[in-house]
Amino acid sequence: MSQEYDLIVLGGGPAGMASAIYGSRSRLNTLVLEVKRKTGGQPSTYHDMENYPGVPETTASELMENFRTHAEKFGTEFKRGEVTELNVNGLNKTVKTKKGEEYKAKSVIIATGAEPRKLGVKGEEEFKGKGVSYCATCDADLFTDLDIVVVGNGNSAVEESIYLTKFVNKITMVVIHDEGVMDAEKILQEKAMDNDKIDFVWNSVLEEIKGDGIVEKAVVKNIKTGEKEELECNGVFFFVGRVPNTDFLKNTVELTEHGYVKTNDNMETSSPGVYAVGDVRNKVVRQVITAAGDGATAAVMAQGYIEEEEYWHNNVVNADRPAVVVFWSVTDQNSMDMVSELENMELEDKGYKFLKIDTYKNRLISDRYDIEEIPTLLKLKDGEVAEKLVNPDQEKIKSVL
């Protein structure tokens, strides 16, 4: 037997937990499935958190713990599990985990995030755990008073380097750009430049990691001159971007060529009732605050989707009599007039189910029946369209009903 929920959120990072807070607070029975024991996603492996609005003094992991406490306060359930399959069949969505558990939900929010990219340079795999690292908070204390090389120059690379200076003796950052140019925000760049423990090698890429059972040298190549240089070091940290965790979604929702989930402004994916939020979706700014914003949007959309679909299901698809549906909008006087005409016809007494669909609020159903003009009138029998009248006059309506 599988367990049933209103909403299942895949991933317990900031985007997923924000979705859960909004979902649970709207009385959706919400489950968060997270691979790791500790929720919090990417920020839980970072230290500093200086730009989350309203919380000037905190750490990344503390903020993530607060997200979880907040979600639990509204009744979110958390479980561990790595999702390997998502199947969508209308309002019934099924999620399967690696261990074989199965969960059902009416709506699913994908918040599986992204994991550190591996560069694939010589020695990277060989020296994993022997000096090669992707996580500063995990390994920082091992490198106390040692020399390390950091590859990358984005926000994460610079922030983590600054954090690592509290432990290590010296950091050499390998930057692919011209001198003084980094991808990180200006405020972070300045902090790094002012830090005595951080040196830079410009116009360079990491080519190889060398050592005898443990990292001893990083070979860097200047991309302008082709010259190679060996840097003595005890460790190499990689912060060279991330890749989305979307392998299990290939046949469920549309992805970009780089594997990110395609969404619109409302976090809707190509599959109705399935949303994507945070780092896993195709967007430019990847911050905790934008992830949380995505989560709020998706949860509100999911709630609307569930309400509309259930309403439609109960009143049209599973109805014991034919349904008359009028598509209207407050912006169209014609359609409003038609709604009142129909209301006066006492359709319920004549054996019809009468429904009004506001096309502004409910695009899903409007799109499904290709409603291009309002007012449009549908007569449905056993869930199938029997008549479709676009902007009909009174005579026409009477002849059909």
């Binding site: 492996t45 755990g129 022997k130 090669v132 908070t137 920082a140 204390d141 091992l142 443990i214 990292v215």
Partner: protein
Amino acid sequence: MLELTKDNFEDEVLNSEGKVVVDFWSDSCDRCLEIMPDVEELSEEYKDDFKFAKLNIKGNRRLAIGQKVLGLPSIVFYEDGEKVEHLSGEDLEAEDIKKELEERL
């Protein structure tokens, strides 16, 4: 599982005959804490053939580096005091450890 420190590491691992498995971990390593219960389970399952031990690198950092451990979690296999295998990385799974144990039976 036997708790190791810099005081007993030499006796229990390097001067120990037979097969020893050492789990290098620390409190700040989430992945270490996650797989620890699985390693405990494996230590029961394979107790007839392997001696299992764990080393908290806090306070034992020099010892860890001496064993060429510079990243957590690290599961290091010793045979008659010789280091024969070193499994590591954030993506290390209990299955990987079990597979190695099977091969070294």
